[in-house]
């Protein structure tokens, strides 16, 4: 009984925590996307930072490229995500 209650509260708080960081995480993802976009600007026709620098950073960019790739896939749903976040239905 006590264990169940503990699990319930843990779940309750973790969902609370998740919601509280939702906006921040969205902002973080956007920044990561922008960061990757700047580095790979030459692919979309915007000026690119020094090639040396880009090539040096690339190997560490798994997360950012992943975010960018997903963002590219969900491009038309960006308003959907925003609407969901602000609970517009």
């Amino acid at each position: 009984m006590f264990e169940n209650l503990k699990a319930f509260f843990r779940g309750f708080f973790s969902s609370f925590k998740a919601r509280s960081t939702e906006y921040l995480e969205f902002e973080e993802r956007e920044l990561e996307n922008v960061f990757a976009l700047i580095l790979m600007g030459s692919f979309v026709g915007i000026p690119s930072p020094p090639t040396t620098l880009v090539m040096r950073i690339m190997p560490h960019m798994v997360r950012e490229i992943y975010v960018m790739q997903r963002r590219a896939g969900e491009m038309d749903d960006i308003f959907g995500e925003l609407a969901g976040m602000f609970e517009i239905t």
């Binding site: 921040l24 920044l31 580095l39 020094p50 190997p59 960019m61």
Partner: protein, 330 residues
């Protein structure tokens, strides 16, 4: 002797710039020969992809310093090899990430990267940096550069690269700030890509991207600090007494001023002198006179040295020492 050509604070760096075919290589080789003769341990490096430094010294050179005279060493940078090894190294670094990078098909990207605009400038800058980092081995380092356009771009790079890197550091800081805030609420975060788990770094000293950015910034600042320091670097422009090289030298002067790179000397090379008037080349001689007058007017804060056209092509050490003595001024 001109004090901006000899070491003052650590080693001295000299860049010889100018239009194609005005005699940059000969002048720089001459100065290197003259300086080494006076006991300065001198290294002359050709960063021009179309090398002819070896031809001037009449020896075969490669990308390692080769001893020519007692304290004179020379080398020619192999740009193609430099770019290739540079890309190879990066490619290996990237290999284990390939799976996630399918979106941009990196293999193809690498194939064409060596022809990509700008790569030569960056590789040149990288090469200059490497030489400057080992600069303490020498008293004087002389760079024989490719024609003005490319050289000015290379010399502008540290300035431009620093703007980029500072901006990127700013964005990266914001990302790390956000990550830290989220981490404070949610605890340590991981993220999954294709079943593999990655940690999400949130502190500057843990984040490899930030580490690279800061390391790059430090390297570029090192080069910038040397090439903008009056006590360590001098730019020597070589030109002929003709209108086009004059215009080009003026433009170079302007842009070097913009990047605060010290410009000290103009060498006017291949001046034709006749005792009696030769009617066939009178027009030419008049232009020469006019240009020489212009040079004195336009470069008031800069030293000017005139080198006459010699009867034979100045090659080999003896010749070079003679011309070099003329340029450095004993």
């Amino acid at each position: 002797m001109k004090e901006y050509l000899i070491p003052k604070e650590g080693f001295r760096v000299l860049f010889f710039i100018g239009k194609g075919g005005v005699g940059k290589t000969t002048s720089s080789a001459a100065v290197s020969a003259a300086l080494s003769k006076r006991g300065y341990k001198t290294l002359i490096v050709s960063i021009d992809p179309a090398h002819n430094l070896g031809d001037v010294f009449e020896v075969k050179l490669n990308d390692k310093p080769k001893q020519i005279a007692e304290s004179l060493y020379a080398m020619e940078l192999d740009m193609e090899k430099l770019i290739k090894t540079y890309l190879k190294h990066l490619e290996e670094n990237l290999k284990h990430m390939y799976r996630y990078l399918t979106v941009i098909n990196l293999e193809k990207y690498f194939e064409v990267l060596s022809f990509s605009p700008g790569i030569e400038e960056y590789a040149t800058l990288e090469a200059i940096r490497e030489i400057l980092q080992k600069g303490d081995e020498w008293d004087v380092i002389i760079f024989d550069t490719p024609p003005t356009g490319l050289t000015l771009r290379v010399m502008a790079l540290p300035h431009i690269a620093l703007i980029w890197v500072n901006k990127l550091i700013e964005v990266r800081r914001k990302i790390l700030d956000k990550r830290r805030t989220i981490e404070n609420i949610q605890g340590e975060r991981k993220f999954m890509v294709d079943g593999e788990e990655y940690e999400l770094p949130s502190r500057e000293r843990e984040d490899p991207v930030m580490k690279e950015l800061l390391a790059y910034k430090e390297e570029i600042e090192f080069v910038r600090d040397i090439i903008t320091n009056r006590d360590r670097t001098s730019v020597v422009a070589v030109m002929n007494a003709e209108m086009l090289p004059l215009y080009e030298t003026e433009r170079a002067h302007e842009s070097l001023k913009k990047f605060k790179i010290p410009f000290n000397l103009v060498v006017v090379n291949k001046i034709i002198e006749f005792e009696e008037e030769v009617s066939k080349i009178k027009v030419r001689m008049d232009t020469q006179k006019k240009v020489l007058g212009e040079i004195h007017k336009k470069f008031r804060d800069v030293d000017i040295v005139k080198v006459p056209m010699f009867e034979e092509e100045p090659r080999g050490l003896k010749w070079l020492e003679r011309i070099g003595g003329l340029i450095i001024g004993d």
